[in-house]
Symmetry: C2
Subunit: 154 residues, 2 copies
């Protein structure tokens, strides 16, 4: 039963709880692989790619299962997908999952998450203006981070 899995994974947060509920209520069954993906995602401060997740789980679960879990979670809007440098990255979304955007340093590859409520508001308004029923959005800034700027132009 779900409780057992919760204990096994050792992770329970508002987001994992919400995710597990929604999975069950949409006809999904508890499964070890997906549960580990959920648990891992809930512990991240920022997004991970499928390959990242596979590696951090010590390759104990199949890569295909990671992709399938992410696909399911994305469809249920439990995680949001961000395209970073040609690869898809995922992070918790919806209730309990904090929403933010990303800035990537083109020099060192560093990825900084950031929040901006005003930006959110403006994005929603843009969606309305276009007549779109928005499900998600992602914003990625590209540039040079403070560290690299210090080194290259002192």
């Amino acid at each position: 039963m779900g409780t057992v899995l919760t204990i096994i994974s050792g992770v329970s947060t508002p987001w994992t709880d919400h995710a597990r509920e929604r999975l069950v209520s949409s006809g999904h069954r508890a499964g070890g692989a997906r549960e580990r993906v959920v648990a891992l995602l809930s512990e991240q401060r920022c997004c991970l790619s499928a390959q990242d997740i596979h590696a951090r789980l010590d390759r104990e679960i199949g890569l295909a299962s990671v992709y399938r879990a992410l696909d399911t979670l994305t469809r249920l809007q439990l995680v949001s997908r961000v395209d970073v440098e040609g690869t898809a990255c995922y992070e918790p979304a919806g209730p309990g999952g904090d929403h933010h955007h990303h800035a990537i340093c083109g020099d060192c590859g560093r990825l900084d998450p950031f929040e901006d409520p005003e930006l959110e508001r403006l994005i929603d308004r843009a969606g309305e203006r276009l007549g779109y029923a928005l499900r998600a959005h992602d914003l990625v800034l590209h540039g040079r981070c403070p560290e690299c700027a210090r080194v290259h132009s002192p």
Copy 2:
């Protein structure tokens, strides 16, 4: 010489001119393949993937050359790259190239470009706050377009 190529391609806009200048001034030589990519890009109202470009040029130039041209142009900040549904799309950027964002309909795949000066301002401010020297940014909205909304929930 450059003039000849300009005549051959038959395309001259503020953006193509700027691009050709910048290419030369950064040590690049005129080449048929890249010139055709530049000419094609300048005629688009929205972004194209490398494969799109290859197809629209009737496969007369190698796919690898398209990728290489796009890579060069991106590095010189003459085109901006947007990740759309797992594939990279490119469009003119910088002087003469108009900047906009994209909304994608998850149902029909339609892609709507849109502009929003206020959003630009806010994004720039976010960059400053993070201490980033911004080179580019891309925002993609995901949702259901007005057309699809009409059909599915009348």
